[in-house]
Symmetry: C2
Subunit: 316 residues, 2 copies
Amino acid sequence: MANHFADRITKAIKSKNTPLVVGLDPVYDQLPEKIINHKSMNDANDAASAIDAILEFCTRVLRIAAPLVPAVKLNSAFFERYLWEGVESYYTLLAEAEELGIETIGDVKRGDIGHTCYAYADGHLKNVEMVGLEGTVTPDAITINGFAGEEGIRPFADTALQNGKGVFVWVRASNPSAAAIGDFTDAAGRAIYEVLAEQVDKIASEPQRIGSSGYSNVGMIVGGTSPAATAKLREKYPRTIFLVPGLGSQGATAADCVRFCRPDGTGALINASRSIIYAYNNPQYKSQFADNWERAIEQAILDTKKSLAEAIVAGK
Amino acid sequence: MANHFADRITKAIKSKNTPLVVGLDPVYDQLPEKIINHKSMNDANDAASAIDAILEFCTRVLRIAAPLVPAVKLNSAFFERYLWEGVESYYTLLAEAEELGIETIGDVKRGDIGHTCYAYADGHLKNVEMVGLEGTVTPDAITINGFAGEEGIRPFADTALQNGKGVFVWVRASNPSAAAIGDFTDAAGRAIYEVLAEQVDKIASEPQRIGSSGYSNVGMIVGGTSPAATAKLREKYPRTIFLVPGLGSQGATAADCVRFCRPDGTGALINASRSIIYAYNNPQYKSQFADNWERAIEQAILDTKKSLAEAIVAGK
């Protein structure tokens, strides 16, 4: 594999022919009955039982997703709720994903200043060589919060680059209340998300960060549900890979999301979580596949890929 | 103990007669030689050895700090760098602190939107009742990142309240580059930190959140190094407890920090990390205490308390 995150992910987008990323936000109560009825996994209030169920579910989703999409995004919160035991299972899944040859994004949204960022980067981006933890796999990229500005971004960006990895800085959220902050505008009419994007680009466009694909190892997160004006960022920052959440359950359409793809389909990763991993609860797929939950997820991935591909063509 | 975080911490500020919080940001290489020369703790590249050293050090700092200050702040990054093993040791220290009767702030700066915030809150604020993890202690309060606005704050605030705990929302960072974001100003002259503070206050001032001390379980983080104008927040938001980082190694003076205390000394928690926990490397204390590193830390705490007390009196 290419040793630059942006090159690996661009190659994967091309070979899987889609910008779709499957998001793993596993919630015990929503797992397939076949899993949570199993006697070793049927107790939501027993940490080992619940974690086993989540591991079983996510491992099977990874196997379905690996041949179909360039990357999966693991949402750390849903593992951290099981404390260190859950964190261990998060790293177990990252190793499984590496085995399967699919890129991983650790959705951890870490953010702080200076030396604290370096410590976070060590745990989340560095290739692990410590005795007792050797062989542990960290994500190919993580999400970070750039609230502290340049000093909050650079430590992550540098550690990532040294380890062939990437970071996505949260520039504009996908939820309604984000507007109160994200759209806050100065006297010259610039929104805070534009200022943050500028800060990110200053770091992202440093020559050493640009891979042979032309993209940087430092990308941006911009919600698919954000105002249409955010799509200007695509043109303004040609070296940026955008991670776009909000497709499906959060209400963004395929057309909203592909605004961040280049006409060749590269340059963006579009994440869908609940609309895919819980597809077996969707009446449309339930009637088609009954309790074959894996086929429901597979079909939801294929259908979402199709709608994104059509939206990319329509947007050209 | 009172079941409302703001009441507990206010009582502790009064009984310890200081707003000082000791921050635990443990870095292996900076630990006392007596610890890292021990044969079971002398290998920085062996996870078990390094974690044992950090646990030993932090446990002893907790014992020094417990009778002297109202709270300790554990910086999650310095535990997460040892992956799930480090996270387990973080929770071990929280249990130790509870035994010692000192309040704990988990400096995790988590932030996301909606259902992800609830999942983070479960792992970081909820009293743990899961089989296999029972008896685990979560922090008395955590730090969060309010970048996503109200929907990114309320889930944490609510879970905290239900569990007798608190949250501190990061409103203004203490590092130089934070100004690019934090001081970003609209046409009416309002800085983004003021807008964020307003968002936080909207939630913090809901009547059910206010304890008998008059303070809310939702506080704000404002760097001691931030511009003097931020001190207006103290007057504007009388129900807010401010968590103030930056004293000592980050360059804020006692006078800078006590701007956020009320004249009676309550209403703020002022954090110092490196200037206290590595006091034994400071020539001033080294010459006084030689390799008695615990006495050096104790003296640094006493000296810092004194300088804060004097600054509070001077500021009246």
